[in-house]
Every structure is written in structure tokens, then in C-alpha cells.
């Protein structure tokens, strides 16, 4: 058991004792509540007992189980009180610490080969996400944070569920149309221009500085101009995305095309291989890691570009439009719901690109985890 785990265990125990000793909440008439809620008392006592029994090396299942149980009890307690007091926060800290201890114990168990990486490795980020959401919910509701500043996850979730048709339309407008089409065009054109530039020194002198120039244009500057050119609907947003994604793809592809080794190219010369053979059999495969870098960078850039572009003129649908109009109505839950959707869509998009990258560049040392 490492020193960190000892400290965590001691700290968790201390927090449990504080949580039992001090009142956990206040109800309408200002009365402080101490031991009225037996499930909380039970979890805290069980945690202290478990920490005492397994002070050296608590099984990760026990730590995790207690943390989850404690989290659930703390959530159930929230509607029963008007304001959380020190005891509640101490209990929250205790459960957080137990969750941390769980992560430490589990990663140790995985490293020691006691449990398999799959599926147990997934538990750590899951527990982390749950802990963040629990703390968020507890702090916003327990401390009565104004919802304008930060709404509770449960409130955001409710709004999200109630507005699925609206969100779906926004998603369709911004992600399916503007982002995906703009991304495909921007990456495709960047790739094509890179091949052309590589072929011709004349284009290299002319197009590369132009691409550089375009990429240096500020997003807020080009977005309104694109609206002038391509109208209010999604084509203008797709155009912004094209401008944003073009240059990373261009630069990375050019770098990738020059990335194949001297010896490998000499080898192609000894076969008297033509330009296209060399391109398809050597230079493009060797450039693949670079190209996928650009695809990954662009997957997040595209979403940002499309959402921001909608702030500069849009029909009454779209993620960016919804964010700007709902914040005007102080309907922050809806804004957060859009943010949540954007975060999930962006992550999934990125993740899909990574999966394809792994399949295509399986041979690269960074993917197969070996030496060069």
C-alpha cells in the first residue's frame, strides 16, 4: 500500500467522522438536521468500519461499492434539505476520497495482473465521470447556486429530454449538414491541393502562402462574409468549416508526403517506378499518420467553427443559434443541453476518426506501441 493510499484512507475516515459529528442540513424553519437520515449514518459508519478493517489494502470493490452507495444516499438526501451544512460536505468529500481510493486500488490491481484490463479498466473513467456529476449536482442544489450561474445536471437532463425534437433539428442543421459537409470538403480540398503543390513547384510558391493567409483570417471576420456570399442557411457555415479545416490538412499532408525516407524513395527509383506508383505505394501510406493528425485536429475545429459561425446570421435552427437565443432568454439549462450535445457529438466524431486511424496506421510505432 502506497503512501498516497494511506493518506487517502486516513482522510476518508476523518471526513466520515466529521460528517457524523456535524449537522448535515437545514430545513425550511431553519432547523439543523444531524442524525435524522439513517441511510447516511449507516453508510458513514460502514465506511469507517471498512477503513478500520482494511486499513492496509482495502479491496477495490469495497471502496467502489461504498463510494457508489454513498453517492446515491447523498443524492437521495438532497430533496429532503433546503441547504446543505458542513456534515453533508464532509460526507461528499469522504465519498469522493473513497472513489479516489477505489481508482488507486483498481489501477494497482490491474497493474499487478490481479484483474483483467478489460473490462475493469473502463470502471476508472466511469467512476470519475460519476463523481464529477455527483459533486456538481450536490454543490448546485445543496448550496443553492443560482441556476443562471450553473444549473444542476439533473435539471439539464430534464430540459434535454423535454426538447429532443428541437435538439435533433439543431443537430441535423449544424452537425450533419454544416460540420460533416464542411469537414469533408475542407479536408478533401486540402488533401488535393497538397498533392498538386507537391507535384508542382510553381503551385508551391503560389498556393502555400495563400493557404497560410486564409488560415490566418479570424473566424469572426470570415463568418459574416460567408453569410453574405452563401446565404443564411448551412452552406455559409460549411464554408467557414472548409476555411478552417483546409489549412491543417494542407500543411500536414505536405509534411507527410515529404516524410518518407531517403532509402525508401531510392528503392522506388531502383524499380524505375513512376510518379503514381511512388505516390500510392510509398508516399501516401507513409503520410497516413500525418493526414490522420490533421483529420483529428479538424474534427474538433469543424464543430467549433460551425457553432460560432451561427452567431453571425442563421435560420432559426442550429446549435449555435440555439445557444445565442436561449442565453438571451436566460434559459441556461437549454444552453447547457446544447453544450452537452456538442461535447458528446465532438467526442464521438473524434473517437471515430481515431478508430479509423488505428485500423489504417496499425503499423506505426505510436499505434502498435513498439519500437520504430
Amino acid at each position: 500500500m502506497s503512501r498516497l493510499q494511506t493518506i487517502l484512507a486516513l482522510f476518508a475516515g476523518f471526513a466520515c467522522i466529521v460528517a457524523i459529528a456535524l449537522p448535515y442540513g437545514q430545513i425550511a424553519d431553519g432547523q439543523a438536521m444531524s442524525w435524522h437520515y439513517w441511510p447516511l449514518l449507516l453508510v458513514l459508519l460502514a465506511s469507517i468500519a471498512a477503513l478500520a478493517v482494511w486499513f492496509r489494502g482495502m479491496p477495490f470493490a469495497v471502496a467502489g461499492g461504498l463510494a457508489v452507495l454513498g453517492g446515491v444516499v447523498l443524492m437521495l438526501l438532497l430533496p429532503r434539505i433546503d441547504l446543505a451544512l458542513t456534515g453533508y460536505w464532509a460526507a461528499l468529500v469522504a465519498m469522493w476520497t473513497l472513489a479516489w481510493l477505489f481508482a488507486e486500488r483498481l489501477s494497482l490491481a490491474i497493474a499487478g495482473g490481479e484483474v483483467a484490463e478489460r473490462p475493469y479498466g473502463v470502471l476508472i473513467p466511469l467512476m470519475f465521470g460519476a463523481a464529477i456529476l455527483t459533486a456538481w449536482e450536490a454543490i448546485t442544489l445543496g448550496a443553492n447556486i443560482p441556476k443562471i450561474l450553473l444549473p444542476a445536471p439533473s435539471a439539464i437532463w430534464e430540459v434535454l429530454l423535454a426538447n429532443i425534437p428541437v435538439l435533433a433539428a439543431d443537430f441535423q442543421q449544424t452537425f450533419i449538414k454544416a460540420v460533416l459537409i464542411g469537414y469533408g470538403l475542407g479536408c478533401g480540398v486540402g488533401f488535393g491541393v497538397a498533392i498538386a503543390i507537391d507535384r508542382s513547384p510553381f503551385l508551391k510558391a503560389g498556393l502555400l502562402p495563400l493557404g497560410n493567409f486564409v488560415s490566418a483570417l479570424p473566424l469572426v471576420g470570415i463568418a459574416p462574409i460567408m453569410v453574405m456570399w452563401f446565404g443564411f442557411d448551412w452552406p455559409s457555415k460549411a464554408a467557414v468549416v472548409v476555411v478552417m479545416t483546409f489549412f491543417p490538412m494542407l500543411v500536414n499532408t505536405i509534411a507527410g508526403l515529404n516524410g518518407s525516407g531517403e532509402m525508401e524513395r531510392d528503392l522506388m527509383r531502383t524499380y524505375a517506378a513512376g510518379y503514381w506508383h511512388t505516390l500510392f505505394k510509398l508516399r501516401l501510406p507513409a503520410a497516413a499518420p500525418f493526414i490522420f493528425n490533421a483529420l483529428k485536429i479538424n474534427s474538433t475545429l469543424a464543430l467549433i467553427g460551425a457553432i460560432v459561425a451561427e452567431f453571425f446570421g442563421t435560420p432559426i435552427v442550429g446549435m449555435g443559434f440555439r445557444i445565442s437565443s436561449e442565453i438571451g432568454k436566460l434559459n441556461v439549462e437549454m444552453v447547457w443541453a446544447e453544450i452537452a450535445m456538442a461535447a458528446v457529438a465532438g467526442s464521438v466524431f473524434y473517437w471515430v476518426v481515431v478508430l479509423i486511424e488505428r485500423a489504417v496506421t496499425f503499423w506505426h510505432p505510436s499505434v502498435r506501441g513498439g519500437r520504430a
Partner: protein, 259 residues
């Protein structure tokens, strides 16, 4: 016997920022069909440059060079030689069999013909059973054998090898030298082999070309008197040691100690 490589007064000068560098100066050499010729000399003597000039990877400055009666460029375009580099230079995204298929694909061989040749050359370098592996899954020696198989796949009569075993340890190297000799006898190819190891040169060659630097030139051409059948312990015989001594002598004579 017909000559495969004929160099007459071949010179090659690189223009560098420090002025011209005479990489090769008036090299005259004739390589006959079926010979195993080693090029040996200290670094900077132009042995690799000479090999690259034969392969049309460098352009000669003056003199003439004929390969199978053609210019170097024509010979390259006719795919007259297979080249083995210092490193295996296998493409990591291709399996071993696909790497061997690479020149065959470029040269337009049909799929059944490719498969036949892959099988045959893999057998030749004792790599059957590793066809589906990727290069990084193989040891350095096996990778270099695969690269030799790749150079053999399209049946060029001339094999150019640029220190192919330089990066390998001595035990692997001995083994591969033995294999290479067997392969040379079986395939009756002409082999040009660059090395800076005297025992390697003497063990392998029918002819040893000793070169010296500044400017790169040929100082001695030694015809080996060793028999065709060469077990590894031939390296302890007086005959072998005598040839090695002459090579060493040639290297010493060509080396200037003034710098």
C-alpha cells in the same frame, strides 16, 4: 564470359559548399557475368557511390559506364539489377510477402506469377512461414533476408548490395554470409557487394576491389584463389589469410596518413 559492368575513366564530382568533392576519380573496372565482386575501403573512398552510380542513383561526371551494354539509366529502366540497402527498408504497412510483391506489382506481374515468385524467393532466403508477418515482427537479420528476397524477386541478373549486413551482429552476419554464398551459387547472379570488413570481403568474393579515398579510386583488384566451396572455417586457412593480408596491404597503401 560477357561483362556485366564496364567502367572506363569513370569520375564523379559532388559540388558542395566547400568546393568540389572528388568522390570517384578515373575508375576503370570490368565485372564479368557470374562474378562476386566486393568493394572494400575506408569511408569516403567512394565504394557506395560507385554502387549507386551503377544503379543510376548518382550521375557520373565524366567517363563511361555500361551495364549489360546499356547506359546506367537504360539499365535501371530495364530493371537490370536488384538493390539491397544498408537497412532493410521494408515498408512497415506491408507484410513480408507484400513487400516482396512490391517490385512485382510495379513491374506489372500478374497475381499468380507474383505468388509463385514470392514463394520461391522466400524459400531461397529461408523465410517461408514468415510471409504473413509484418517487418517489425522480425529480427534485423530476418528483415535483411526479406529485403534480399525482394531484390531477387524480379530476376535481375545483377545484385547490388550496399553493406547489407553492416548493422547486424557478427554471429548473424557469419550465418548470412554463408547463406548468401549458397544463394549466389544457386542463382548464378552477378553480385557487387560493398563492405568494410576484410574477412567478409575475402570470404565472399571471387574478386576484391580495394579502394582509397580523396579522391575515391581503385588501388588494387585481387582475384580470389579460394575454391568455390567455402565452409566458414576456410577463414583459418593460410590461403585465406594470404589474400586478407594482400587486401590489408592495399588498404594501407591507399591510405594517406598526412591528415
Amino acid at each position: 564470359m560477357s561483362s556485366v559492368v564496364t567502367a572506363k575513366d569513370l569520375s564523379l564530382t559532388f559540388a558542395t559548399s566547400d568546393g568540389p568533392v572528388h568522390a570517384l576519380s578515373e575508375v576503370n573496372l570490368e565485372i564479368e557475368k557470374g562474378e562476386f565482386v566486393s568493394f572494400i575501403g575506408p569511408s569516403g573512398c567512394g565504394k557506395t557511390t560507385f554502387l549507386r552510380t551503377i544503379a543510376d542513383l548518382e550521375d557520373l561526371t565524366s567517363g563511361t559506364l555500361e551495364i549489360n551494354g546499356m547506359s546506367a539509366r537504360e539499365a535501371r529502366q530495364a530493371r537490370a539489377y536488384g538493390y539491397v540497402f544498408q537497412a532493410a527498408a521494408l515498408y512497415p504497412w506491408r507484410t513480408i510477402e507484400k513487400n516482396i510483391a512490391l517490385p512485382l506489382e510495379i513491374m506489372g506481374y500478374s497475381k499468380p506469377e507474383r505468388d509463385k515468385r514470392i514463394e520461391r524467393t522466400l524459400d531461397l532466403v529461408n523465410l517461408s512461414g514468415f510471409a504473413k508477418k509484418h517487418p517489425w515482427q522480425l529480427s534485423g537479420g530476418m528483415q535483411q533476408r526479406a529485403s534480399i528476397a525482394r531484390a531477387l524477386a524480379f530476376d535481375a541478373d545483377l545484385l547490388l548490395m550496399d553493406e547489407p549486413f553492416g548493422a547486424l551482429d557478427e554471429i548473424v552476419r557469419d550465418h548470412l554470409n554463408e547463406e548468401l554464398l549458397k544463394l549466389w551459387r544457386r542463382t548464378e547472379k552477378t553480385i557487387c557487394f560493398v563492405t568494410h570488413s576484410i574477412p567478409e570481403a575475402v570470404y565472399l568474393s571471387t574478386k576484391i576491389v580495394v579502394m582509397s579515398p580523396r579522391p575515391g579510386r581503385v588501388t588494387d583488384v585481387i582475384a580470389s584463389t579460394l575454391p568455390d566451396e567455402r565452409p566458414l572455417d576456410i577463414r583459418e586457412t593460410p590461403e585465406f589469410l594470404a589474400i586478407a593480408a594482400r587486401v590489408r596491404e592495399g588498404l594501407r597503401a591507399g591510405h594517406s596518413y598526412e591528415e
